[in-house]
Symmetry: D2
Subunit: 352 residues, 4 copies
């Protein structure tokens, strides 16, 4: 190995060996392109086994597209999408949702990345008033961008509010496996059973090379989606190599194993960090991220050894993430480096 | 092997073993996501070695995006794109160019898939007239959708015409390796040296799992492209797994080996088909496709054994394609099946 | 009067005095903006009196918007619009349909500006095939851009074909009054009764200052149109001044009087031109346009006196249009000028 | 007169008699359509006389288009627009800016409708980071949607900040005449001289029937604007009737007379309202609007007599606007009606 593992992001990790093996197994002869192949059929079956036999499943290349095209399917351009100010949809897509859907984003401040019914309700007005972009979608991220997790009850409350006003509930599940494991629930309980209408099911951050799935719980909503995906530049020709990865992820509970491990490593890292008084953890550690206020002057020093992202320049809040391949030794080494920078000699936990 | 090789399309093939090996080699530890990694740096170097040190290179997931986003970089929505009526851009993208660029497509009839200066000139009017979408791009496909190939002289003639009127010359190089091999020329001679401004360099149809590169020969044109790619939903997070494939393709001339083989197999197929009087080859076989008029009543029969596409329902023109992994035995078996359907007993070539 | 009347276009004319008077009458106190006013209510009633009580009517500023936003209401971006190669929608909107609807235009060559079922049928394929923009609208212009007129039977044939495949029939009625008068039919007979689903009802070319109406014959299709109009930048605040013009046009048959006069003047012009052997009329004169091949060298000379458009530079085909305010003296003067240029001495009709 | 004057909006008013007269005067013979006419030439001269000889001027139908298309000219879809949360651009356009420009709106809370450098600075980050929509425009409204007015110094401060980061300063001048009069400044001092790059110059709210002008202070920025306007569905054919209105507005200082009167009437109304202790004025009255908290239970009663808009349902803040045709008697009658509803007997001002 030449490339060190770090804590910058779960998408800095590579491919889980089982996924890579699935790519090799799928590399066999010719199959029809664009998804009319047995690998894709099997992957869809795997999703239906989990989410119910009526769901419709479509594969795309990445999470931006999963979210944007999924929302395209359930909106027209005069609609509005309600989301957290911290939502990936809002801050990290270079305006892709606005450009592609034409919709306005209505933003709710959310310090922990989670929408609340109260926050959403503040945007539920102007229905029927043509000067106002018409609210049509509530979009939540599970686990959130801040490493927090919605309970099924919280999701249900948002779904009920959304549905009562004719809106859909969209879930950006880039890290849905981490959320499911965190909650000790199955995928179905935290999505369709809780009222979610459409789900971006993430693979990339959980050990897949690339690929995301869009799950329509109401098949009617997916009626035109094949055209939307194609026109949206997201129809892969050798699709078997995306679908085969998802079968590998879903069979034998590899998704669970990977997410459990990443979450455990985040807990382990948080426990160690909590014992360092110079660092203050700022968010509940419920998935595979640790957010913390870190001494400003040491950030560049630590980044020389371990690249990571400063989340908030003003407050020196940083983000550290674990992944399926993080080891205890990785965490120990990282914490030791931090301690070294802080001037620690030996183990100095639990200082009073 | 469970999946039979056929002649439906070069994207029905899988991954070349060297490419798959490159994926495995790149699956090593953590690297920074979104392209700031050594694999991507190396792949770009490989492209610069071939095309010149000043070119700018961007990777995207598929050919639709390579064409649409590349053209987005050099147009505004009130521009028009001149292309062949048979161009993939025109007939096979479900309107992606119009939706994403906002531009009008101006179509030139072209029985062999090739634009001519005369055909292009017919659309070079209305400059400065605000009612008319302003021509800004001539887009050609190399090799064409009909398996034909532009000579460097033909490309230069189109480039000179385009440039004389302030238009750019865009090349959809989904099968540029097949064209280069067919012409016995290097990539540079048939692109930048011939006047091409921007190139979609295809990998998928030449043994790559997925991935295309956009090459800007004038770096100034690429200034904003990183935003266009991101907003265009085509920025891959684990980009190393796309770039590593291209390094494998470009190093050791794997691209050439693959394309040479596919082209040879098309020649071999064409030679055999030419000896069957019931079938009429309709296009020059210059790359890896054979187009032919096939007896209508036998099409469904043959498709049961070997799936392929009917290009023109009205004329019973069909398309057969070869790929990097096509074998002589595959061709022999396919031709034998055709002969069997035609009622041949034994070898009956060269009937007179 | 300072500005001479000419034959360049019916939109070079001004406002009919009755329309101007209606503007003055509507200029009375305050009314609620954006269409919730008695003038707009009355204009809609006038349209319902003519087209049926269930139609939905929306006013916009110009014909580009009437066509583009009307089609937006009945399409999604992955759809395609079938129209004549000469359609205003195709050649004179600087790509507005593509930019705003995202749809592909599928073009049918039509020397007289009229679509035929055969021509349309050539594009009725690829349904359900995701690579192909899905045909959803047939758009015809009545009277056409070439001054020809569809009969009700021709419209019905197109409507039946369109509907049989799940497409809508859209009519660009920029000059529908001229067509109705030409056919001796009522508006209803040549639109909804013939199978038209949505109509752009033109006012500007028939004596109105500015304003067009979009008529939905199936109210369900207009359900979201108020949002589409607003987001489409076409909701006028002082809407009463658009609607009042339409009431003036529709009441007392002013529309008919204006169109009858314009058509008569075109006939009168055509009769005179027919007698000049150096000029060849190229299209049936069925509405208010005369198309003719004119001696190339004299075009600039005539344009110095009377500005008009050369329709086809290659063939020297020119377009002359009459309007509600054209007089016999205008025609006589124009023809005399032509004769003078041709070197005529006195009246030399019927030579030969 | 049948229609009562009220206080709902300045666009509920009609056309100033001088403007109507200009329409009549322009209704003379034929002129070339689409703006190549002497009336439009003269209107542009009038604007150049005021703003400088190098400005470029384009007419469109309404304010939505003036803002959206003006911003289209200076952005690409991956850019972001910084504006007040109360900006018309943000709340009253049904998402037109997002749909048409593709840009993200970055919102700054602003209780009085005015942006401050501090507020803007909060969004000036992420430059060069491809995940982030790139800030490119600061848009301010003058007078603001809350009836307040930016001083030239405030505008200059925003312009300097914007320009220092490569952004443009856009001004929505739907009520710029009211602002100029309020400040006692000329148009030039509060726009180009203060650093504004592009201006939507409003006519409709100041006595015009319909029409807005887009003024580019840097002609280079307008280079492609004629195509943008046409593709944006805002090129009027009988343009003389829009331009002639602007000449009437700008000549003889009609713009000033109208705005001065409207502002005076707002002051007069505010003075009277201030004396009613049950009503609390919430914003500085600097232009032609009065915002006030009004007793909730009486709002529907008052609306029966005088329609007006409730600005904030939660706080019972209402908006009353005056216009060029408001009379002192109108104000007296309105205030008397309010007093009657409040149970006043006779004049009871200045209660202690």
């Amino acid at each position: 190995m030449q490339n060190k593992r770090g804590f910058a992001s779960d998408n800095n990790a590579g491919i889980h060996p089982e996924i890579l093996k699935a790519l090799e197994m799928a590399n066999d002869g010719h199959v029809i392109a664009y998804g009319d192949d047995p690998y894709t059929e099997k992957a869809i079956e795997n999703f239906r086994r989990i989410f119910g036999k009526d769901v419709e499943v479509f594969f795309v290349f990445n999470g931006t597209a999963a979210n944007v095209l999924g929302i395209t399917a359930i909106t027209r351009s005069f609609h509005a999408i309600i989301c957290s100010d911290l939502a990936h949809l809002n801050v990290d897509e270079c305006g892709a949702p606005e450009k592609y859907t034409g919709c306005k984003l209505l933003i709710v401040p959310s310090p922990d990345g989670k929408l609340t019914p109260d926050g959403v309700a503040g945007h539920l007005h102007g229905f029927g008033f043509e000067h106002h972009a018409q609210p049509k979608v509530v979009s939540i991220t599970q686990a959130t961008e801040m490493g927090t997790v919605y309970t099924p009850y919280e999701i249900t409350a948002l779904a009920e509010l959304a549905h009562s006003k004719g809106l859909y509930l969209h879930m950006d599940g880039a890290r849905i496996a981490n959320a499911a494991v965190s909650l000790g629930r199955g995928f179905r309980e935290i999505t369709v059973d809780a009222g979610v209408d459409i789900l971006s099911f993430g693979g990339t951050k959980n050990g897949v090379m690339l690929g995301e799935a869009i799950i329509f719980f109401n098949p009617e909503l997916s009626r035109d989606f094949k055209y939307i995906r194609k026109q949206g530049m997201q129809l892969g020709s050798k699709m078997r190599f995306i679908s085969a990865q998802f079968s590998a992820l879903l069979e034998n509970d590899l998704w669970r194993q990977n997410a459990e491990h990443a979450n455990e490593m985040a807990q382990y890292l948080a426990e160690k960090i909590e014992q360092i008084p110079e660092i203050k953890i700022t968010q509940l550690v419920q998935a595979n991220a640790v957010f913390a206020i870190f001494p400003a002057e040491l950030i560049p020093e630590l980044q020389k050894k371990y690249f990571f992202y400063v989340w908030n320049e003003a407050t020196c809040e940083v983000r550290w993430m674990t992944s399926f391949d993080t080891t205890r030794e990785d965490v120990d080494g990282f914490v030791a480096e931090i301690q070294k920078l802080l001037g620690y000699k030996g183990i100095r936990y639990k200082r009073g």
